[in-house]
Amino acid sequence: MSAPSSPHPPLSAPLHLAVALNGAGWHPAAWREPEARPGELLTAAYWSDTVQEAERGLLDFVTIEDALGLQSSKFTGPDDRTDQERGRLDAVLIAARVAPLTRHIGLVPTVVATHTEPFHISKAIATLDYVSTGRAGLRIQVSARQHEAAHFGRRTFPPFGVEDLDTPAVRDLTAELFEEAADYVEAVRRLWDSWEDGAEIRDVATGRFIDREKLHYIDFEGRHFSVKGPSITPRPPQGQPVVSALAHQSVPFQLVARSTDIRYITPHDTGRARTIIEEIRAERAAAGRAAEPLHIFGDLVVLLDDDPGAAAARLDRLDGLAGHPYTSDAKVFAGTPSQLADLLLEFQRAGLTGFRLRPAVIGHDLPAITRELVPELQRRGAFRTAYEADTLRGLLGLARPANRYAAV
């Protein structure tokens, strides 16, 4: 075999790309940019235009941020700021609203496990899978915030700030919430399987609409809740919609790693990426799931311009408007699409299978991703040139799983 002549030889596996949608963008001053539509952030038109743009770029999926409280610059609770975007819509409903207007792109809303019902969320995501004909997923999240718990009034959490995250009390609370989230995902997954495929038989001769032998009680019993089942919604088209989670610490790594299809991580360099990936693989193996496919996506905040100086200058300008430099759990990248392509491929060689890009300004950086980054990756043979599957699992190379309750 002759040596490849291209400076960028095709990689063994193309990378996967997702975009994280969050209001006008991830930078707190995003709404002030000329391309932002700050008066339309609560409209269907804004969301359908945005997701259609992502689909134009052949992206695997979009995630949609959500929370059970108002946005705030403070970790501990509401702030007094009036210069930042406030207010948001339910992410599952946004995903459902855009589903009939798109055909290929995966729709992955954020779901907060801490205060919601696994039974409701299971059927909501199953239904999102029906209305999108197989493109649904969810991103599971927990909330330890005292003020969000007060919106529900069912439990109380101690007040704490970012600086307290490593104290034993907060670590215990976090561990408990992630343990509950793991239970939550387990209950949701069992409910998705609680109807076997083909349970609806419409047998006119016997008058039976379903074969009830193919419906199953899930009998989930956990520390925080129990769920009897079966679901009221038949098994969704994908069988199991895609479950994803973002985690920064090893406790969430352990607990959620066992039940997710995609993990979002926030390495700032390839060395750190390798360390985290090894840790996740080890936990996966310890859980006896080493053979199952697992995607590990790197999260990056991106500002893209044709000239590297322009992107950096834009970040400075946005920081000036916000009144402070932007900081993030994820690496913040400001540069050209070509530079970003270099970085993504470097991270891919470290073991990441894909990326969830957080556009600093959706109106600017999302089109830069779909119209400049994607063609650049395609030129390098690292990204699809057409949608190759009709379901999100299909795009991610995940087989439709067997039903845990089906007789072998």
């Binding site: 008066g39 269907a44 009036t82 210069d83 406030r86 339910d90 009939p100 409701h120 009221i232």
Partner: protein, 467 residues
């Protein structure tokens, strides 16, 4: 009372405009799933077809019911009717993408939810549909359904309306926590929000003790349109106090008028006017080219709805016993109903309809013997007949008569075929109502409140009308 079918009523009152809605048929034996034309109850294409038909016919809204636990009988999942349905909020939000005007009404339980979450879901749906959301507030308390939820089934039956009332009041406080003028989004000045405390709320009550900031700004309708279902005294009072519409049971003209008079009569005590609460019974229909053909078709549909197996199961509701050994084509059981705790059927409201099983069993045995009816004949003959049966002209007249005679303000129609069962109504009956000038030919507004003639909550209450 005589009713004219012409341009006015005999009393000289102006003609009332009829409201029409479409109930996507769900898990009950109204649905004839065995018909070759019957489609999916879960696939989105069925919902989209149904919604588009309703919108083509200029209906006010589409209606979805709720069931949070699969029904059981004799300890097993009930398998003779349609089983399975999608999540209400998710389907309604997707339907907002394939319709422009149609209202989107979801039945959502106040027992197995929390106000903050439900309020943000309805406010989100109202934003995403441009002001077309409605909430049919229902209550339940049973431990059977509660087994699917965190809170379980601890709610005592007598507390269900008190919880529902407080749930709705709390949700209204959340909807009202934003006034609609807070978002300035002035890019130049750098002011997004007029007031950092927008959305602040605090509710301290028997069932809910919550405070903080609501995170969905004011939606186009201010609040979703509120429906109440159920005809108990408590339910009527709940509706008179705070609902915009009642989803009621279909009945005779006379019973309908009595219900209408009673409920509308309660409004004044709550400082409300008669036009602030619409009465919309659910109604089935069968159409034919002639009245005789429709009657024949209706009989056939009832036979399809009640198979032999369904007839036995229906009898079990009354007998509270396993009757599977009986022949549906044979005579009624000669043993008496079991009067102990009702254990045979779970997860359906129907079992509470038979208050005196012994008397019903006696009455049915006598009726069957006199008419030489089998079990199946009896269940078919004593079961609910379709509300409207006839030619399109007959059905249009009957519907109009009910509304002009104040037995209803309109109807929520329940076809027996999914999803195409509404098409014939849209194509044949609606044009006749339009010709009479009692049903819109175009949508005049954009929101569901516009279609229903309900004021926006911010417009203030209408002037009380002297009776």
């Amino acid at each position: 009372m005589s009713i004219s079918n012409g341009a006015g009523t005999s009393t000289g009152k102006p003609l009332k405009q009829i409201h029409l809605a479409a109930h996507f048929p769900g898990v009950n034996n109204t649905t004839v799933w065995s018909d070759p034309a019957a489609g999916s109850h879960v696939e989105f294409s069925s919902f989209a077809h149904f919604a588009r038909t309703a919108e083509r016919a200029k209906f006010d809204f589409l209606f979805l019911a709720e069931g949070l636990r699969l029904r059981e009988q004799g300890g097993q999942i009930y398998d003779l009717d349609v089983v399975g349905r999608p999540d209400t909020f998710t389907v309604l939000s997707a339907l907002a993408a394939v319709t422009e005007h149609l209202g989107l009404t979801g039945t959502i339980n106040s027992t197995f939810n929390e106000p903050y979450e439900v309020a943000r879901q309805f406010a989100s749906l109202d934003h995403l549909s441009g002001g077309r959301a409605a909430w049919n507030v229902v209550t339940s308390w049973d431990a059977f359904t509660g087994e699917n939820f965190r809170r379980g089934g601890f709610l005592p039956q007598e507390e269900r309306y008190s919880r529902a009332k407080e749930f709705l009041a709390t949700a209204n406080e959340l909807f009202d926590s934003w006034h609609g003028d807070e978002i300035v989004a002035d890019q130049g000045a750098g002011t997004f929000l007029r007031d950092a405390r927008a959305g602040s709320f605090s509710h301290k009550g028997q069932h809910f003790d919550i405070e903080g900031q609501f995170n969905v700004p004011r939606s186009p309708q201010g609040r979703p349109v509120i429906f109440q279902a159920g005809d108990s005294d408590e339910g009527r009072e709940f509706a008179a106090e705070g609902a915009d519409a009642i989803f009621s049971r279909y009945s005779t003209l006379k019973e309908g008028q009595a219900f209408y008079t009673d409920v509308k009569g309660r409004l004044a005590r709550h400082g409300r006017t008669r036009d602030q609460l619409l009465i919309l019974p659910a109604a089935t229909f069968v159409l034919g080219d002639s009245d005789a053909e429709a009657q024949e078709l209706a009989r056939e549909v009832r036979r399809q709805q009640v198979s032999g197996a369904t007839a036995i199961k229906h009898l079990e509701f009354v007998w509270n016993r396993d009757l599977s050994s009986y022949d549906p084509e044979g005579p009624l059981p000669d043993i008496d109903p079991d009067l102990g705790e009702h254990t045979i059927a779970r997860g359906r409201a129907q079992v509470r309809m038979y208050r005196d099983p012994l008397a019903i069993a006696r009455e049915w045995r006598e009726l069957a013997a006199a008419k030489n009816w089998s079990i199946r004949d009896l269940v078919i003959e004593t079961g609910n007949r379709q509300a409207f049966v006839g030619s399109p002209a007959t059905v249009a007249s009957t519907i109009n008569d009910f509304v002009q005679a104040d037995a209803a303000d309109g109807f929520i129609l329940v076809p027996h075929i999914t999803p195409g069962g509404l098409d014939v109504f849209a194509d044949t009956v609606v044009p006749l109502l339009q010709e009479r000038g009692v049903f819109r030919t175009e949508y005049e507004g954009t929101t569901l409140r516009d279609h229903l003639g309900l004021a926006h909550p911010d417009d203030g209450a209408a002037e009380p009308v002297a009776s």
